[in-house]
Symmetry: C2
Subunit: 307 residues, 2 copies
């Protein structure tokens, strides 16, 4: 089971964090960007080349510190098909470096369309007699607003191909309350969603007793983390919102179980853009990212002991 | 305002429907698929080439019957970056033929990530001094589970670039009830979402009094269509679930206002796969698609008079 693989990697590196790959053009060190624009002009081709080189450099710098990376599809889609080609290469490169790859796509659709999304991100696409892998990440993020019809095709690929998925429960952003905190009987909408996630995942438990379907719960709501950790004891958590959005190590400790397992905390900008704070114009982007990732790891380890 | 453009096209063709471009490899007529596999083998490249040729042929056949097409991103993503390249070409080709293009992507994310998605699908991406259009559809579908943070960046592009968007309210699939029909005070979750959609769109009314933010409401729930049409009087509806999923012309009439405006009904498989029912092995796929689209138009026109 794929969360077993993630938990094993977390244990090996004593680091329950994931580095987001969310680079826009303006996050790429100027020298890298210039090189690609000199070659291809002010084009999406140049931008995609620059982002790819930057992401690969980050992966090189982080590969022995973090267990996982999380490329965010939006920043590749905004570069068109060239961006999606770069995303395929980022996923492949990270896997080559033995990193666990969470494709942050937050897809949600039904029936054969959900199956197509699952083929794209976790499975394979059949062409004649050939089964072609596509983006082939280890894990994907999903939106469950449409119900189990939008989740089941992914669960099939999870069990058949040793993959896993996180479904949005309570997100880290301020306006998450508009729908997610609405009172529904004796629960809130995000609790309803959390209960659905645990129910949908039944029967897919791995060696650490977590199911193949996890939940996204934001670092900015520590009381919710505590409540949902207790309520959803078989659901692995992806915790965004650390750092730039305000979540601290003291906040995220509630995401973990008593053995320090069952959660992974994401940081994107604080790692990726660490070079912008050292005054070296990006020449040290790898060292800066690595130092930021080590600092985050050490902060969280003050509160969480991973057994 | 972009729903004005859509409504004008609907009026001109007297046809309030949109043709889904949802082709998997197995929906492409065998002769087209064979041609591309002979050239490129059993690869994603062959599949993307075949789907692109098929979609362009459908667009040619449908361009003077339907006002709009709706490519579904999942079926292009499952072919990797080559699929996304085909999708860019499908959008451009449909616009060239003066069709309104709804990119069915159901994206939902927050802050700068939502902005990146909006740049990808409705806006432009800045590279140096150049503003590069990416997929550049007229309209997009969204998932609002994360609240207004996931919608506002799109609304900016809607107002600045004359675009529009549909947000999921009550979807056509059986398991939509699992979350969307939960009782929340004196409303259901989908009504809460519908009210949010109307509130988020305030101030973006066009000449037909519809706002730039529409809602997805499935054809399979006629009583919900009736209820939401009355409640959300400024919200344009995209109505999936016609045909294959069970929605009929008698059902979808409730999506329209008293002037026969404010809604567009989608059909995908019944048009795209019409050739599979004529026994000609796909040689007549264009005529078959066109006939199916005309039939759907005529069925709906028995119930809806467009003024």
């Amino acid at each position: 089971m794929s969360f077993d693989v993630l938990q094993d990697k977390i244990k090996a590196k004593k680091n329950p964090t994931v580095a987001g790959m969310d680079a826009r053009v303006e996050h790429v060190p100027p020298s890298i960007l210039k090189k690609h624009m000199d070659r291809h002009g002010q084009t999406l081709e140049a931008a995609a080349g620059a982002v790819l080189e930057f992401d690969k450099g980050l992966i090189d710098a982080l590969a022995d510190v973090v267990p996982a990376v999380k490329p965010q599809s939006a920043y590749f889609e905004m570069l068109g098909w060239r961006g999606m080609k770069a995303l395929e290469e980022v996923v492949a490169y990270a896997k080559e470096k033995d990193l666990f790859v969470i494709a942050d796509v937050k897809r949600g659709d039904i029936g054969t369309t959900a199956a197509a999304y699952s083929q794209a991100w976790l499975g394979t696409t059949q062409v004649g007699d050939a089964s072609c892998p596509v983006f082939d990440a280890d894990c994907v993020t999903l939106n469950g607003y449409m119900g189990s019809d939008s989740i089941k095709p992914f669960l099939n690929d999870c069990t058949q191909r040793d993959k896993c998925a996180f479904v949005l429960a309570k997100t880290s952003n301020p306006s998450s309350m508009e729908l997610q905190d609405i009172v529904a009987g004796d629960r809130l909408v995000y609790t309803v969603m959390g209960d659905l996630i645990q129910r949908w995942g039944q029967g897919t438990e791995g060696k650490y007793h977590y199911q193949a379907l996890g939940a996204v719960v934001g670092a900015t709501h520590p009381s919710v983390l505590k409540e949902l950790r207790y309520r959803l004891d078989k659901v692995f958590f992806l915790v965004p919102g650390y750092g730039a959005q305000g979540g601290t190590a003291a906040d995220v400790r509630y995401a973990f179980d008593e053995l320090g397992r069952g959660a992974v905390v994401n940081a994107s900008r604080s790692i990726m853009c660490a070079w912008q704070k050292t005054g070296k114009d990006g020449a040290d982007y790898q060292e800066a990212a690595r130092a930021a990732a080590e600092q985050m790891r050490d902060e969280i380890r003050q509160y969480v002991q991973i057994l």
